[in-house]
Symmetry: C2
Subunit: 310 residues, 2 copies
């Protein structure tokens, strides 16, 4: 039985990356690109986004080869593709934005093709919350709605974000965002406060410290993969979210046990993503490599079931 | 079979705590006190430290009731007990030191009683590395040596610390300390660098993000207990280390599987510690409560062994 496709809406971009290992001009990037490639390892993907006149045909072909349906990728000939330029610190722990050229993305208004309006799995990438809501307004049928957000919208577009959150099933955000949006420092309290805003599932990404999944009274703590081979952290969060919903789509259900495994698979994809520049490693990683690394996650968290005080 | 005792050497203090919930003058504290009480849940403890003329008999009796042998607790009548005063931020995420009165601790030179000089399990609390080495010099026989350290010694006493590390089996430190001591930002690389300095086992404490255990090629990632009931974070790190070595002593071996469970038990004790002011919760927590919380840790990290890409 083939998996039901995942609809991914978000930014498609070129990133100019200044990494400790060297500079890389205009490599493929954007939240929807990373999420789509990650999800495609488990299920077919329907991508909705906008690119400009500089978009190369080979990028469309590459996405197609990874079973990403690009019929919802609008090509706007009036400008160039969204471009971001950033410089990472020598230990990759922080980065500085050198340029954000929105270009055709400035007027992005997602149009969901008729063929995509019934999608069981919907991933709203990190775009303006009003646009996220516009997407949901166009859906004729949807199952699980996953949304990502960021501090920029929490600070500047809180009313719109709160309106969107009421329609979201699963919210993915990082620890600082969870604290800022909830006003709670303690992450357990923060997650509970976020659940009262709408999402029944909250996943808090903690970078090198892994991720926490909250659903009802359940808490799941996933470690980060203890990698030493970080080359480029760009897109790790989008890859996590894409791997997560892709895995859920592949399994065909969002039961709690599935969500836990989905967090591990999302983390695994993210751990591969950062090993290469841009999307390169996401394009090359194999099912066997993913499965082996998931097996290592099992070993990393396992402790004796016989553990007892005496 | 009764467990072989743990020797704990470190500071014994009174802490004046200004917490969001109120102020608490001169409650029992100090690295050795927290570590001893934590370890005592699993094995008898031999405490070596110094206190002053203000030390109350009831504190000695309380420790004795928790099978902490205080015959190595020197009472120096020439001064008062070490006193620390601090104020926590309203969200408990940071603290400010208001006073550090070393008092009799200023000239502390640990003297290991003859009866304690053969101890299979040795915990060197966070004191000057030269004093830690002095302790080891007095031992006639020891098994596993666990040491804690802090930024203060890394910055100011690096040569002494490096000398001590060559005699340490298991080093416990927090993530920032691991980075500073190793010069590596990536924690996996940091741990490997620390292992080259002497310890064959390194445990990196990450506070609310749990802990990482490194031994040879093995990595174990333990979550923090997802508590919402933090009242006083003081002593959590010392409690973790004490619970860790106490559990190892209780099991009677330091095999890798034991170390993994020991990290979970140390984390569990620390999660109880922070629920009360000072050592109060460490004194009241029961074996049943510890065992139940360890069971919850199992649930928090578990994910499907059948997890597979399709």
């Amino acid at each position: 039985m083939s998996a039901s496709p995942v609809l991914v809406v978000g930014s498609v971009a070129f990133d100019t990356l200044h990494l400790p290992s060297g500079s890389h001009p205009k490599v493929l990037g954007g939240s929807a690109t990373f999420a789509s490639l990650a999800a495609s390892h488990f299920a077919p993907v329907r991508l909705v986004g906008v690119v400009g006149r500089d978009w190369p045909g080979r990028a469309t072909r590459m996405l197609g080869d990874h079973r990403v349906d690009t019929s919802g990728l609008e090509v706007d000939a009036c400008g160039d593709t969204f471009h971001w330029e950033g410089k990472y610190a020598s230990d990759l722990s922080s980065r500085e934005t050198l340029a954000t050229d929105l270009n055709v993305f400035a007027d992005f208004s997602p149009k969901i093709p008729a063929a995509f309006r019934r999608s069981r799995w919907v991933m709203l990438g990190n775009i303006h919350p009003a646009l996220q809501l516009e997407v949901l307004g166009q859906m004729e049928e949807s199952g699980l709605v996953v949304a990502d957000t960021m501090n920029f919208w929490i600070r500047g577009e809180l009313p719109a974000l709160k309106k969107t959150l009421r329609r979201v099933d699963l919210l993915v955000l990082n620890d600082e965002e969870a604290r800022e949006l909830s006003g709670e420092h303690n992450l357990v309290r923060a997650a509970r406060a976020l659940m009262r805003m709408g999402p029944r599932i909250v996943i808090v990404k903690k970078g090198e410290h892994g991720a926490l999944l909250f659903e009802g009274p359940n808490v799941f703590s996933a470690p980060a993969y203890p990698t030493t081979e970080v080359m480029d952290p760009t897109g790790a969060g989008d890859t996590f979210a894409g791997g997560l919903i892709g895995y859920i789509a592949g399994r065909g259900n969002s039961r709690h046990e599935t969500l836990r495994s989905a967090v591990i698979f999302g983390s695994t994809l993210a751990s591969f993503c950062v090993e290469g520049v841009g999307t390169s490693r996401l394009q090359s990683v194999t099912h066997g490599q993913i499965a082996r690394r998931v097996g290592r996650f099992q070993k990393i968290v396992r402790f004796g079931p016989d553990a007892k005080p005496r």
